[in-house]
């Protein structure tokens, strides 16, 4: 059963995986292109099987605060949304960061700014990896590039969130959410019992027991000295994550003279662009960051001895390219190629951009 191969949309696979990963609660508000997440959960009725709660909140503001509260009880809680909804959530996201709460948020990006369009985009890169809310905080960001990864990253996202008591974001895009591919769903994992949660999350607000003081979860600290200590602790946590959790994938980089970098579905298009370019004799490889925070700065540096230039391909006006430039420190040429407003470039456009902007 667990090894069954299914044909599913990314959004559907993510919803199924949530149930199988022992998720305790989903609070969301529908928005294209990710509405199938809640639709699938409502269809599968996990409250009748695993006991997982699925609730349509009155808004994204409400759903992120329900996530904050449920996750504050040490439960595995998630929400999903798309770009305008993610903006509405930023206050809650910052509070969750300030309170060291583990939770999972999925953003299936669409074109912006504003209400924008409903088609695929990657224009929320800055918002997600540089902090869309206020204060010095970061969140682990996973960028799936297939329906399989939409399913796999739910469990991974929860595991990372609970390992570091941090918000984890699955940053997908409309293309991954809407396309259907083969997927092997993860095996069923039971929801944790209250005893297990009390043991794993001694900070959880599950009601006081005689052996400990009251647990208080807040991001408020009026005295500056303890607030600075809290900030220092957060930064230490982020440094540890940067040391331990960098994930990336590579395709034909061994002998590459040029690199294309792309994340999410853009990396799929770029893989085809690499295949096409290789047939034309161009030695190009693909470096795909899987974690956007932490970002694979060091892996990029390792390539600098043998490459002449990097093309960053994104469905935006140039965001990840800035992180690539931070890694490269001017040593090789770094250019951006992207489409905006919900338009997805074709592999042919990427090959042309590589020739025109990098190789010349």
């Amino acid at each position: 059963m667990s090894e069954e191969v299914r044909l599913m949309k990314g959004n559907e696979a993510l919803a199924e995986a949530a149930i199988r990963c022992g998720c305790d609660g989903y609070f969301g508000y529908p928005i294209t292109p990710q509405s199938e997440v809640m639709e699938t959960l409502m269809k599968l009725k996990p409250w009748e099987t695993t006991g997982m709660v699925v609730l349509q909140a009155e808004s994204e503001v409400a759903s992120i605060n329900m996530v904050y509260a449920g996750a504050g009880c040490g439960k595995r809680i998630m929400t999903s949304t798309s770009s305008p909804g993610f903006s509405l959530m930023q206050e809650g996201v910052s509070y969750i960061a300030g309170a060291d709460i583990p939770a999972l948020v999925v953003n299936v990006m669409r074109g912006g700014p504003g209400l924008g369009t409903i088609q695929p985009s990657q224009a929320d890169y800055f918002q997600t990896v540089k902090g869309g809310g206020h204060g010095d905080y970061k969140q682990i960001t996973l960028a799936p590039n297939s329906v399989q990864e939409m399913a796999d990253f739910v469990g991974l996202g929860f595991d990372l969130a609970f390992k570091y008591n941090i918000l984890c974001v699955i940053l997908a895009d409309g293309l991954i959410g809407q396309m259907m591919e083969k997927v092997v769903l993860p095996p069923y994992q039971p929801r944790r019992t209250e005893e297990e949660i009390r043991k794993q999350c001694p900070w959880a607000t599950l009601g006081r027991t005689p052996d400990r003081d009251i647990n208080v979860i807040t991001s408020l600290e009026l005295e500056p000295e303890p607030m600075e200590r809290r900030n220092i602790a957060l930064q230490a946590k982020y440094a540890l994550i940067e040391k331990n959790e960098v994930r990336y994938d590579e395709f034909m980089t061994d002998d590459a003279e040029y690199l294309i970098m792309a994340f999410g579905s853009a990396a799929r298009i770029c893989q085809k662009a690499v295949e096409v370019s290789r047939k034309q004799g161009i030695k190009v490889g693909l470096l795909r960051p899987i974690t956007l925070f932490p970002f694979p700065y060091n892996r990029i540096k390792e390539h600098l001895s043998h490459i002449k230039g990097i093309l960053s391909v994104e469905y935006n006006a140039g965001q990840m390219v800035e992180d690539i430039r931070l890694a490269v420190e001017g040593k090789v040429k770094v250019e951006h190629f992207g489409r905006t407003g919900g338009i997805v470039p074709t592999p042919g456009e990427v090959v042309d951009a590589l020739k025109n902007q990098i190789i010349k």
Binding site: V5, L7, T32, I118, Q119, L175, M180, T346, G348
Partner: protein
């Protein structure tokens, strides 16, 4: 072996479901598949299209510049996708509602009077299966048993009584397609 297909027409013609049946059939035949619909304003404005890739090897990009096969069911889609067929590729279209026929000579153009046939047989709802039959005749990348399994998978159980009718439509579709 790899087949890269665009299916395009009006919403309601069964464009997306035809693609889904092909994708399911490919899956059940052990192939790699991707199904990518246009879910944006064109779908809401009436036209619909879907890119289906069926391949022996892992699929890199689900988005393509050009296609081996274009299955075209209205004039807007013909205008948009005729130029996107690879040289030597094939274009299948139903002349119903087409005012400007395809003009390319470096591709194989096939026409299928599926709409006329569906109306004649009082089987308008099976329209897309007549089209699918024509495609499978030219490109048997998936076999008919798997197509029927795919059809079963994509139909809700309450409609399984319609399976024989659809199989009939696929077979008829294989007969009515002809090279321009």
């Amino acid at each position: 072996m790899k087949e890269e297909i665009i299916i395009a027409g009006f919403g309601g013609q069964g464009v997306l479901s035809m693609g889904k049946i092909l994708a399911y059939a490919g899956l059940m035949q052990g192939k790699e598949v991707s199904w990518l619909p246009a879910y944006g304003p064109e779908q809401r404005g009436g036209t619909a299209n879907v890119t289906v890739i069926i391949s022996d090897d892992k699929i890199s990009s689900p988005i393509l510049n050009t296609y081996n096969t274009a299955i075209i069911l209205n004039q807007q889609s013909l205008d948009k996708f005729e130029s996107k067929v690879k040289p030597g590729g094939r274009l299948i279209y139903d002349p119903y509602g087409i005012t400007k026929a395809p003009t390319r000579t470096d591709i194989e153009v096939y026409s299928t009077a599926a709409m006329d046939k569906a109306l004649e047989l009082n089987a308008a709802k099976s329209f897309n299966m007549f089209i699918l039959g024509g495609f499978l005749k030219l490109c048997p990348i998936v076999d008919i048993e798997h197509v029927m399994l795919g059809l079963k998978k994509s139909l809700p159980e309450r409609h399984w009584n319609l399976l024989p009718q659809n199989e009939e439509a696929i077979k008829t579709g294989m007969e009515i397609i002809s090279k321009r």
